[in-house]
């Protein structure tokens, strides 16, 4: 037996319904008639605007010919006779056993004067669009009433038709339904950039025709707005919302929803069991849906029911993602944060003009919804996560291009110009820069960049950035090795590797870089590989290590002779003075109690050092990731408070560890009593004298990230002290990451200071013998690099300005005089000094 099915409306949902039924009704139980108001078969209304981009009506068509359906185009149903089960058109009556209403919506036209004028349109059908195009020909101005989703689509259409376009929106922002205030203003900037003039918070009070005579009577001329202003418009599009088309159902006595729409239950059945309603015209349990996806779901439900199934409407996700005027806009879930106690996380980047908001549950664990403007690449993941646990840290999810989310990769994709901290206008670039300079945690970043110091909302993002950079710093050293520095250290040590080439061939790839080469050079040096510039090792060294001096901004170098403990004889001071004078070097006393000589050209370095070495100086290793200085106060020798000989100990320690290559520089100090004049607690290891011996402190730091060293052990004898420092340094050298100072190393250590104590004092890892032996090897094999260099003509040969003109100084290096000393003549490159004091200092 075949039953009659009549479908009213051949829109997107009606069409989907017919297809669903046809494909499943294999026994041909239903004879299908479709009665359609529009003169053309179903088309993709969602892509309607593509029509103005040149997509043809045919390309938009959803119709499948020969689907065995009796499709009656241009034949709207005017009445339904439920008693006789007839759908009535102007052409005939169609009996039904089941009637499916899929009549969609009609555009709401606000009750103002002039909506019937020529040149005033709605934006719903292909016919509307064709009429708009026709009318716009030869005209210049246009206006859209309504700044919602549809209105902006229409505005873009008018633009594409070459009209200078206005958008008038009654709400205080564009797309009020989808986005919040901040998203709306971001969107407004995009839209205005396209030369569309936006009027928000304004109603249209009337649409006015051309005043006859002269103008075209009965044709629109412009809009009067509620603020009294006048917008000239030759074309007006009304996009002020939609209303469900429930008129036929209403007239047939079917129940309708409170706010309109044909009332249906979860099976999409109306108050008449033979009549169903689907799509925008249906109010499922009282609620209408203005999107196509819920309509499709309803179509499937009714197709299933008509074939004996029991499907129900699952409820709908009102998420939307669209590209409006080239701008990605997406909203999903509870985009407006209507859930009780919910929290917002927002992100705004004015540079790339991305706005994003997440709405989270009150305990910040569940994603409820959100808004994305400018970049909606995270939309799929986010939408998928609504109602569930957050797939990652909120800000990482919001970051552009985090489509793959959940990994925190999003933050990596953020443009460098993105403002991470908007309170203090700190960009991602600035934060990443600070991390590269050594900021290793949030407090350091706060101190250094001020990010996160006001409202604190960017702190999660700072952590993300740290994590992302940390991965690179600590795990794989660089693209040439998958190992961390510690792992590479072990490989070299255990396998007895002697050259970088062997290491990279066997355990890495490529030919290395400025990250791995110096790190490997340092490891080889720590393991006692002799003179750092011999053989292949030379090519691994950073320029500082290569020329055994510190490169400066103009390409010259500075020279720092070692002055152990800061103690120096007058004769040696005089030598330094003479050398500086003879080579025209700028001199400055350093914080580490020595003297820095600046402005030496490459080819001068061996000459300078010849003089220094002959006077008994050694390299100060200011250029190396190595022990720098052991600073001291005068201690008990002179100071009336001193309880131990701090200078003597400092000299001994500095001589013991001089030249020891490490993951980063190492600084130390010794104070002669608890008054701590040497600032030992700001050092990697610091010693403070007590009445009974020495207190050892470890993990201190100065610089941009000050940290007081922690007390490691008290009242040590000199012998104990030295043993602990030996092990501390060697353990650090073995296990720290590249460029990780001792402070960060201890903080990152599992078990922290207690673990460190166990390793060093109690030998919990059974390592102490090895560590002791390694230091002993270092002490025994130490030789001064500069003496070894100047004594060997082959080595001196490297210090030439030009390989083809060894005696010609670099002509680009020039000096000027400042406060009686030479300084680089940088010309325009000199940094601008703001308000440098011209204080009346008496000379």
């Amino acid at each position: 037996m075949t039953a009659n099915l009549v479908v009213v409306g051949n829109g997107m949902v009606g069409q989907r319904f017919v297809e669903a039924l046809r494909s499943r009704d294999t026994s041909g139980g239903w004879r299908v008639t479709v009665l359609a108001e529009e003169g053309r078969p179903a088309y993709d209304r969602v892509r309607l605007s593509a029509f103005f981009d040149g997509v043809s009506a045919r390309e938009l068509s959803l119709h499948t010919p020969d689907d065995g359906v009796d499709l009656r185009l241009g034949e709207p149903v005017v009445r339904v006779d439920r008693e006789r089960r007839l759908a009535v058109t102007d052409h005939g009556e169609y009996p039904y056993d089941a009637l499916v209403l899929a009549t969609g919506s009609y555009p709401f036209v606000p009750p103002v004067d002039g909506t019937d004028l020529r040149g005033v349109f709605v934006y719903r059908t292909l016919d509307d669009l064709e009429a708009i195009r026709e009318h716009a020909r030869g005209r210049h101005t246009g206006a859209v009433i309504g700044g919602g989703l549809l209105g902006l689509e229409a505005a873009n259409a008018l633009r594409l038709l070459g009209l200078s376009t206005h958008v008038v929106e009654f709400a205080p922002r564009l797309m009020p339904v989808q986005v919040d205030e901040a998203g709306g203003s971001m969107l407004r900037r995009y839209v205005e950039e396209l030369d569309v003039k936006v009027h928000t918070g304004t109603a249209t009070t009337a649409i006015r025709p051309h005043g006859a005579p002269g103008g075209e009577a009965g044709t629109v001329h412009g809009l009067v707005l509620s603020d009294g202003s006048w917008i000239q418009a030759d074309v007006v599009v009304i996009a002020a919302g939609i209303r469900p088309r429930d008129d036929v159902a209403r007239d047939a006595g079917l129940d309708v929803g409170e706010r309109g729409g044909i009332l249906v239950d979860a099976a999409c059945r109306t108050s008449d069991e033979r009549v169903w309603a689907i799509g925008e015209c249906a109010a499922v349990e009282g609620r209408c849906y203005g999107l196509v996806a819920p309509g499709y779901a309803m179509a499937e439900v009714v197709a299933d029911r008509l074939l004996g199934g029991h499907a129900t409407f699952p409820g709908a996700d009102m998420s939307t993602k669209l590209k409006l005027l080239g701008v990605d806009v997406a909203s999903f879930g509870d985009a407006h944060g209507t859930t009780e106690g919910c929290l917002d996380v927002t992100f705004t980047d004015p540079a790339t003009r991305v706005y994003a908001k997440l709405v989270l549950s009150d305990d910040a664990t569940t994603l409820l919804g959100g808004v994305l403007v400018g970049d909606a690449s995270a939309y799929p993941t986010l939408r998928a996560s609504v109602g569930g646990p957050l797939p990652g840290p909120p800000l990482a999810l919001l970051a552009p291009e985090s489509g793959g989310a959940g990994t925190g990769a999003g933050i990596a994709a953020l443009p460098g110009s993105a403002q991470v901290c908007s309170c203090n206008a700190v960009t991602k670039d600035q934060i990443v820069g600070a991390i590269h300079e050594g900021c290793a945690d949030v407090p350091a970043l706060k101190a250094c960049t001020r990010a996160g110091t006001s409202c604190g909302s960017c702190v999660p993002m700072l952590k993300q950035l740290l994590a992302v950079s940390g991965v690179r710093l600590s795990k794989a050293l660089c693209e040439h090795f998958d190992h961390s520095r510690q792992e590479i250290f072990e490989i070299i040590r255990v396998r007895g590797i002697r050259t970088f080439s062997q290491l990279v061939t066997e355990h890495g790839r490529g030919r290395g870089c400025d990250i791995c080469k110096p790190a490997v050079a340092s490891i080889l040096a720590s393991l006692g590989n002799g003179y750092v510039l011999d053989g292949e090792q030379a090519a691994l060294q950073d320029t500082n290590d290569h020329f055994l001096a510190n490169i400066q901004r103009d390409g010259t170098y500075s020279v720092v002779p070692r002055i152990p403990g800061g103690e120096i004889t007058p004769d040696k001071l005089i030598v330094i003075g003479e050398v500086a004078r003879d080579f025209n070097l700028y001199t400055k006393i350093t914080g580490g109690q020595r003297i820095d000589l600046f402005g030496a050209r490459v080819e001068q370095l061996p000459q300078i050092w010849r003089r220094l070495v002959d006077a008994g100086f050694e390299s100060g290793h200011a250029y190396g990731k190595a022990l720098r200085t052991v600073k001291s106060c005068v201690g008990s020798t002179w100071c009336r408070y001193g309880v131990q000989d701090s200078v003597g100990l400092a000299v001994a320690l500095e001589l013991r560890y001089r030249g020891l290559r490490a993951p980063h520089k190492i600084k130390s100090a010794v104070s002669g009593c608890a008054r701590e004049c040497a600032e030992a607690r700001s050092k990697d290891f610091g010693v403070i004298a007590t009445d009974n011996g020495w207190n050892l402190y470890v993990g201190g730091n100065g610089g941009f990230r000050p940290r007081h060293a922690d007390l490691f052990a008290s009242d040590l004898s000199t012998e104990e002290l030295v043993r602990y420092v030996d092990r501390f340094l060697m353990f650090y050298i073995r296990t720290a990451d590249r460029l990780q100072r001792t402070a960060a190393w201890i903080e990152a250590m599992d078990g922290g200071l207690d673990h460190l104590r166990a390793v060093i004092v109690d030998d919990s890892l059974g390592l102490c013998a090895e560590l002791d032996a390694a230091i002993a090897r270092h002490v025994d094999s130490y030789e001064d690099e500069w003496r070894a260099t100047v004594d060997d003509p082959e080595r001196v040969r490297r210090f030439t300005s030009f390989v083809n003109a060894p005696d010609t100084p670099d002509p680009s290096i020039t000096f000027e005089v400042e406060r009686g000393q030479p300084v680089p003549a940088l010309g325009e490159r000199r940094p601008v000094v703001l308000g440098l004091p011209t204080m009346g200092a008496r000379q």
Binding site: H480, R511, D542, S801, F802
Partner: protein
């Protein structure tokens, strides 16, 4: 290299003075040129001036590789340059000039265009 386009070659130094994975600076017709030898023996010559810092230091950078590209890193701020093209791989739009370079009779020669 682009031998055919080069009119004049300037003899710089014996080839062993350019050690593997190191650079040397040379004065060529008043310009400073940095000459490098890569591990596989390739010779490259670029402008010795670090275009970002403005100092003539490129010859003192660390030679290595990034992906397939032979590279040198500026010793001042570590921006990495492709030795073949002079292009800066870290800062878009920045590049150093490259020069033709070859070995003739055991001597390194740089083309002065």
């Amino acid at each position: 290299m682009t031998d055919t386009l080069t009119e004049r070659w300037e003899v710089i130094c014996p080839q062993e003075l350019v050690e593997p994975e190191r650079g040397v600076a040379a004065l060529v017709a008043g310009s400073q040129v940095a000459i490098f030898r890569t591990y596989d023996g390739g010779l490259f010559a670029i402008d010795n001036r670090d275009p970002i810092a403005g100092a003539n230091v490129m010859s003192r950078g660390i030679v290595g590789s990034r992906g397939d590209a032979p590279t040198v890193a500026s010793p001042l701020h570590k921006e990495v340059y492709d030795l073949r093209t002079g292009e800066c791989l870290d800062v878009a739009g920045v590049a150093v000039r490259t020069f033709p370079v070859r070995v003739r009779d055991g001597m390194v020669e740089v083309g002065a265009r």
